[in-house]
Amino acid sequence: MKFLNKIIFFYFREYKLNMSGVQDILTNIIFFFVSIFIFIFSIGPDKETISLIGVGIVWTLLLLSSTLSLRKFYQDDFENGNLLIIHLNGLSFGFIAILKTFSHFLFVQVPFLLSIPIACVLLNIANDKLFYLLTSFGIASLTLSCLGSISSSMNLMNQRNYLLGSVIVMIFSVPIIIFSVSIINMEENFNSLINILFGILLIVFAINPWASGLCLKLSLENN
């Protein structure tokens, strides 16, 4: 019971923290939309072309905007010592990683999920594809959060090469993109593709607490 309370109030803390920096989340979304505008302007007014590559654009931009904010994943809590305090309050590093991952999903990815319909209107994506896009991104974004947790915990002590974290997330997200884009192109295989995406999510989710937990401990140990 006490453990459950700790989890609930961990999220209370995350909520307060994210709401105080709500402009950061909004900036992410603005980045997403401005990039869509840029794409539309640079491709030209041809609606056919835009709707053809629209899904790809949405995916690329979602990936980019969620990796650009990766540095905040653990960095603040690591530098001001909160990570240590949370651990001393009786949460193992693995559990902290899981909790943080869900928090990132809730406060960074879900706003994107909500803004996808608007992006679809801008990019002329057919309405019947919206459902597939939303389900695939719903699963894939949690996977991205797990990958983000792994990569940003690895790069806590990396003071030189900030982009490396994004590259790590992007290279491991290749299979996710392949499957989620083929969901939209091959609607008849919907169930089996969703199952594969879900399988990838489960694997990454299982690796996440171990890899991130180890990296967090390591970085705190040598800070």
Binding site: G90, G94, G199, I200, L202, A206
Partner: protein, 146 residues
């Protein structure tokens, strides 16, 4: 919940999750990451005109027609179904009748597939050219070697 118990819980959770994930993927991954479709996988009734896809199979024997120096017509088959393909361009060296090939392009109508790219596909068998003659001579040539 003590830290050791959390660890134990995490280990159990990980094992269960990994197991179910592997099962999920193995059950579903087979047909989905294909680089190409085979002709019999293409449902004639559901062809989308002008949608770019890839089809892989063998070039059907006695189907290759040279229309002009860079225009070709042939059929791609997997011994269950076959598709008529037209191609305008340069064919790879390995391309010949009976050879595996992957073509990229789109259906222009329900029967004709217009290829924009043709890739030859070779198999995993390697054998000196002279031996092929010997095998053919003695009748041991396996038809499977394409």
């Amino acid at each position: 919940m003590s830290l050791r118990f959390q660890r134990l819980l995490l280990i159990m959770l990980t094992l269960v999750i990994i197991l179910s994930a592997v099962l999920l993927i193995l059950y579903n991954a087979r047909e989905n990451v294909s680089y190409f479709y085979t002709p019999s996988e293409i449902d004639k009734s559901e062809i989308t005109i002008n949608k770019i896809i890839r089809i892989g199979g063998f070039v059907e024997n006695d189907s290759f027609n040279k229309i002009s120096s860079s225009k070709f017509k042939f059929r791609i088959t997997d011994e269950k179904a076959s598709i008529l393909v037209t191609f305008n361009g340069i064919l790879p060296d390995l391309f010949r009748e009976g050879q595996g090939a992957v073509i990229e392009g789109a259906f222009v109508d329900n029967d004709i597939f217009n290829a924009t790219n043709v890739f030859a596909k070779h198999d995993e068998n390697y054998m000196p050219a002279s031996i092929k003659e010997d095998l053919k001579g003695t009748g041991y040539w396996n038809k499977k070697y394409k």
